[in-house]
């Protein structure tokens, strides 16, 4: 990962120096282990803070929405797909962007690691495929592959789809994974089991909206949860209100979600929010043969009409 960091800094400095971009969006070391922060570097000094490791799971596409400047942005597979989605949705122009592509080998799941230990973790060091977790009185070595985020473990688009420059050679894509395993499992349940499954899933939700804020797709000026005339969804913790929020949030991402996992990553309660969006992704793939953010020239399925669209649901 050190090579990545150095290469990112080198590219960022070059771009800032020759005026190709006004800023470079990337990550810097966070104050807590496994919590890297988004960082906007506007001068070569601050470009030295840029870095890369396996804790850069947030989606940087979130920070380019409606910007007017020329932007250099560090993008792994999912970020680049979200940048494509942004371009398609006219939230940014492609020629404003200089995409620094990161061939990604997956991000580690901090929920999983925190749950493994009883005491606080003070440092997480990474070398190659192993990760050393240490706290005040312990130190443990883990294999990175075992603690990957669920979406990374089943990711089929690790390489950026759109980029101007790469920091390293492309990595091999995974082909033997099924991202929709849990969806298939839920599909086989009956209505009541499904209802109860989701009831359990969202019961810890505290409606902090972190998932919405971390999501690069959620850029509406006024979110439906903040609308008050009329009020579509109650602000309480009533299970129905919580469910309405999750259903509508997920549905707004239909055909746009790239399964970057930012929502799950930021959830303070560790809710598997992707169970909602994954179903919609699977439907989009099965009904329209669509995966979000793979091409700049194709319109998403929910804003086009084709004569061969499936319509069994209409009588």
């Amino acid at each position: 990962m050190k090579e990545y960091t150095e290469k990112i800094r080198e590219i960022a400095k070059r771009l800032l120096n020759d005026g190709t971009v006004d800023m470079v969006i990337g990550f810097r070391k966070g104050t807590l282990p496994m919590m890297n922060q988004p960082h906007i570097a506007t001068c070569t000094d601050s470009a030295d803070e840029l870095m890369w490791d396996s804790n850069c799971g947030l989606n940087l596409a979130n920070y380019v929405t409606d910007r007017k400047e020329k932007i250099g942005i560090v993008a792994k597979g999912c970020d680049s797909r979200n940048l494509v989605t942004h371009v398609i949705e006219n939230k940014i122009k492609r020629d404003q962007l200089y995409i620094i592509g990161i061939p990604c080998s997956g991000m580690i799941d901090h929920h999983k690691i925190t749950a493994m230990f009883d005491t606080d973790i003070t440092s997480v060091k990474e070398s190659g495929e192993s990760i050393t977790i240490s706290g005040n009185d312990f130190s443990k070595k883990l294999i990175k592959q075992d603690v990957l985020c669920e979406n990374c473990a089943a990711c089929t688009h690790r390489n950026p789809v759109e980029y101007d420059e790469l920091v390293a050679d492309l990595v091999e894509e995974q082909t033997d994974v099924d991202p929709y395993e849990s969806v298939t499992e839920i599909e086989s349940m009956d209505a009541e089991e499904k209802w109860n499954y989701f009831e359990d899933l969202i019961s810890p939700c505290i409606r902090c909206y972190a998932c919405r804020n971390a999501c690069p797709l959620c850029y509406c000026p006024t979110c439906f949860v903040d609308e008050s005339t009329p009020q579509w969804v109650g602000k309480s913790q009533d299970p129905i209100d919580v469910r309405t929020f999750h259903l509508l949030r997920a549905f707004h991402c239909a055909g746009r979600c790239t399964d970057c996992g930012a929502c799950e990553r930021v959830c303070p309660m560790g809710i598997k929010i992707r169970e909602f969006t994954k179903k919609l992704n699977k439907d989009c793939l099965e009904l329209y043969g669509w995966e979000a953010g793979l091409s700049l020239d194709e319109r998403p399925p929910l804003d086009t009409f084709k004569t061969d669209d499936p319509d069994e649901f209409i009588k």
Binding site: W232, V233, L247, L248
Partner: protein, 66 residues
């Protein structure tokens, strides 16, 4: 109540189904009275919010027709 009389919230497009409903009325055709009609300017006005709001305020079912 002897029989289950469900409430069905119907979102009808002004130009299509609403017209059909009007014609059905003018032609004095009989149909069940369980539907509660809401006219929308076009089915494009439809939003998932409406469906969920209908259901969580007590509708038995929602029907969208263009």
């Amino acid at each position: 109540m002897a029989e289950n009389e469900p409430k069905i919230i119907s979102f009808l497009c002004n130009w299509c189904s609403y017209g059909a409903a009007d014609l059905a009325g003018v032609s004095r055709m009989e149909y069940p009275s369980n539907i509660r009609v809401i006219r929308i300017p076009c089915t494009g006005r439809m939003s998932p919010k409406f469906i969920l709001a209908g259901l969580n305020q007590g509708a038995d079912a929602v029907w969208v027709s263009g």
